[in-house]
């Protein structure tokens, strides 16, 4: 008798990565079940939660934080043992964390993917850029990415780079006055400003409206111009996938022939369900994915699961320029300075990205003035003066994978479902510290050029919420968790759709690459199932 399965493919996690894979499989006629530990929440509720929040700079706050599906800011979600307080802002609801990303959607470059062979550091990807390019294209169409077809994204002022088979689906939005002026003055000293490709569409796209500058990409776009994973969760359902909410996977069950036989999930009232499928995709993000593998004792013959944790750990600069620039008009990010994206220096230190933040700065401005006891009419005058001149630069660094940067199931804490939370050990290496010194020299230049008054130029290391390396991709079963197709070496029917597979971090935000890889996973599985 033929084996009966609950679905062809079960996908764990309804974030941007899981949902894109689910949609691609469902539209090819495969039967798909998506398990999501959170609930589906309409945008207007999140928006109202934000507007009535007393901690608006806390980007997890407007989102549900249930004992059985806690966000990453919940107490004991992560216990840190390293010298850096690693704590990204991960969410638990249909659509996942991209509800409050900023939708920067860069591609890696060919050199990013061959770091070891080009510069002798870190690791190479087992696949190259040409292999990924068609999937980047499909991912950009899925997300409605606005981008420049003429920029050299290596930041050297050369020909358009990296290579593209087709133009960006949406043209770039107009640069703000703030961006234009900084580019004019800082660019005059040779720094290259590059438009940030982004999924904050400025033309109607796939049912989403054009951005109208509500300036709240993080923590919630009020109009849904900015892409979030719920778009494809809904598309997947419309194409026939079944989405089960309040369903937290806590165990992958091994079956015959090295295959995964079933997934066990638990609901908030404690009910357990066992579901079988021909294929499984774990798309529970770069932290929850390795945790699930480790507590299930699967896919770890290499002992690499949960190691090599990389964020684009960063630092920041804020200063007051000598002229009114009026940040806060338009989208909260627009692009930045890319001179340190690629070059021979990567043998010595990490690549560096300086991104301009274009957020309405009134809260930061006002808090600073209040701290200085500035009140009354002077306060009102200064708020206008300083808000017009506020420059905020968010800098990120390339990371190298290290065995000692780990995420492990906690041996102390459990969530309300009885599932262990996490322990993270993370520190920043000298490759990054050397780049930090270079970035600080840039900071001094930016301040000098803009004749600025420094507000903060020594923030220490900061989280950037890009989780990579934790289920690393490689070319042998001994040194990696998945192969170049995101298939686990140990289990032929288990794939991982997460930025956690990324073996060389580059300096650009990783999610577009994750979506491209997920679409590719769906193509691979669709051929086999």
């Amino acid at each position: 008798m033929a084996t009966q399965y609950d679905a062809d493919v079960i996908i764990i996690g309804s974030g941007a990565l899981g949902s894109n894979a689910a949609f691609e499989l469902a539209r090819k006629g495969k039967s798909v079940i998506i398990l999501e530990s959170g609930e589906r929440i309409p945008r207007w509720k999140i928006l109202e939660n934000f507007r009535t929040s007393s901690r608006k700079s806390n980007y997890n706050d407007p989102y549900p934080n249930a004992p059985w599906a806690p966000t990453s800011f919940d107490e004991n979600y992560i216990t840190n043992t390293g010298d850096f307080e690693f704590l990204p802002g991960m969410l638990r609801l249909v659509g996942g964390t991209t509800w409050h990303w900023a939708a920067a959607t860069w591609r890696y470059t060919p050199n990013d993917m061959k770091l070891k062979s080009t510069y002798g550091v870190g690791r190479d990807w087992p696949i190259d850029y040409d292999e990924l390019e068609p999937y980047y294209q499909r991912a950009e169409y899925a997300l409605g990415v606005a981008g420049s077809d003429t920029d050299d994204q290596n930041g050297q002022g050369g020909d358009p780079w990296p290579p593209r088979s087709e133009p960006y689906p949406v043209p770039p939005e107009a640069p703000s006055y703030y961006y234009q002026r900084l580019k004019e003055r800082i660019g005059a000293e040779g720094y290259h400003f590059i438009h940030e490709p982004n999924a904050r569409t400025n033309q109607p796209w796939d049912g989403r409206p054009a951005c109208s500058g509500n300036n709240n990409c993080m923590p919630v776009c009020p109009i849904g111009a900015m892409y979030s994973g719920d778009v494809h969760a809904s598309h997947a359902e419309a194409a026939g996938a079944r989405l089960l909410t309040d369903a937290t996977a806590y165990k992958l069950e091994k079956g015959d022939g090295g295959k995964i036989a079933a997934v066990h999930c638990r609901s908030s009232n404690g009910d357990d369900t066992r579901l079988t499928a021909k294929y499984f995709i774990v798309a529970a993000n770069g932290l929850e994915t390795p945790k699930l593998l480790l507590i299930s004792d699967v896919a770890n013959s290499s002992d690499q699961v949960g190691r090599n944790l990389m964020d684009h750990t960063g630092m920041g600069l804020q200063f007051l320029a000598d002229e009114p620039l009026w940040p806060g008009r338009g989208q909260i990010q627009e692009g930045g300075i890319f001179d340190w994206r690629d070059g021979d220096f990567r043998r010595q230190h990490a690549a560096i990205k300086h991104a301009l933040t274009n957020k309405v700065p009134n809260e930061a401005v006002t808090r600073r003035l209040l701290d200085d006891l500035i009140v009354g009419p002077t306060l009102d005058e200064r708020i206008r003066h300083d808000a017009a001149r506020w420059v905020d630069i968010s800098t990120t660094f390339e990371m190298l994978p290290h065995q000692s940067n780990t995420i492990r199931p906690s041996s102390t804490y459990k969530d309300a479902l009885g599932i262990p939370t996490m322990t993270v050990n993370y520190s920043v290496d000298n490759y990054v510290k050397r780049a930090g010194e270079v970035a600080k020299k840039d900071f001094a230049n930016f301040v000098r050029i803009m004749n600025g008054e420094v507000v903060e130029d020594d923030t220490g290391w900061q989280n950037r919420d890009h989780i990579m390396g934790t289920v690393i991709m490689g070319d042998t079963a001994e040194n990696s968790v998945v192969d170049g197709d995101c298939r686990t070496w140990d289990h032929a029917n288990l794939f991982l759709s997460t930025t956690g597979v990324i073996p060389a971090s580059g300096v650009i935000n990783p999610t577009l690459t994750g979506v491209a890889l997920s679409i590719r996973v769906a193509d691979t599985i669709a051929k086999e199932v």
Binding site: L47, R51, T52, S54, R55, K56, S57, N58, D61, N65, P70, T71, F73, D74, E75, E85, L87, G89, A174, P175, S176, Y177, N202, Q203, A210, C211, S212, G213, N214, N215, N216, V220, P222, I223, P324, W326, P327, G328, R329, G330, V360, N362, E363, T366, R367, L370, L373, V375, G376, P377, T378, L379, D380, E381, I383, R384, H385, A387, A388, N463
Partner: protein
């Protein structure tokens, strides 16, 4: 702009508010005509459910003086007063201490606040800043960026005074002021900013 003279006191209150305050305070004003804030010696509620309209009105008057505004929103005042009390039940007493200190120092022009603050107990300064912060930022307490909980309390969003000085140039985030790409050009006021 606000000369520190007796006549300037009235400029802090709109005619309508002056009337309602007179009604509210009734004969008491007469008892202490020279007093800026006669209620500074009254008894206060010790729990939020006891808060009276009078207390909120008095908090509003003090808030208007501290922020240099003539007509703050009474509903927001009610919320701010209650959350400040929630954050510290001694708030009414501290507010009274502040009002008395301001009265003694004759502080009406908030441009002179720093000099005033330098001569006061830290608690007086903290109380003043707690009230001013609540109005400007729209919350009380200190937000924690990476925690599910902190000691903040919501007061107002669109009513937060920090948005007033720039409202013609930038948005209150989540609201929109124009169409796609409006941001390409600077605000009209650029030359005088």
């Amino acid at each position: 702009m606000f000369p520190d003279t007796a006549s300037s006191k009235t400029t802090l209150l709109s005619p309508a508010r002056r009337l309602s305050r007179r009604q509210l305070l009734g004969g008491l004003l007469g008892l202490s005509a020279a007093s800026l804030m006669p209620w500074a010696t009254w008894a206060w509620a010790s729990e939020t459910h006891q808060v009276s309209e009078k207390e909120v009105a008095n908090f509003l008057a003090l808030s208007e003086r501290l922020t240099g505004r003539e007509s703050l929103d009474a509903k927001i005042a009610g919320r701010a007063y209650r959350v400040l009390m929630e954050a510290g039940e001694d708030f009414p007493a501290r507010q009274r201490q502040l009002a008395q200190a301001m009265e003694q120092a004759g502080l009406t022009d908030m441009r002179k606040f720093k000099a005033f603050a330098a001569a006061q107990d830290q608690t007086v300064v903290d109380t003043a800043m707690a009230i001013i912060s609540a109005w400007y930022l729209g919350y009380t307490g200190t937000p924690q960026g990476h925690s599910a909980t902190d000691d903040t309390r919501f007061v107002t969003y669109t009513g937060a005074l920090m948005f007033e000085p720039t409202i013609d140039a930038t948005v209150i985030p989540t609201y929109s002021r124009g169409r796609t790409n409006y941001w390409h050009t600077p605000p009209d006021t650029l030359a005088t900013d």
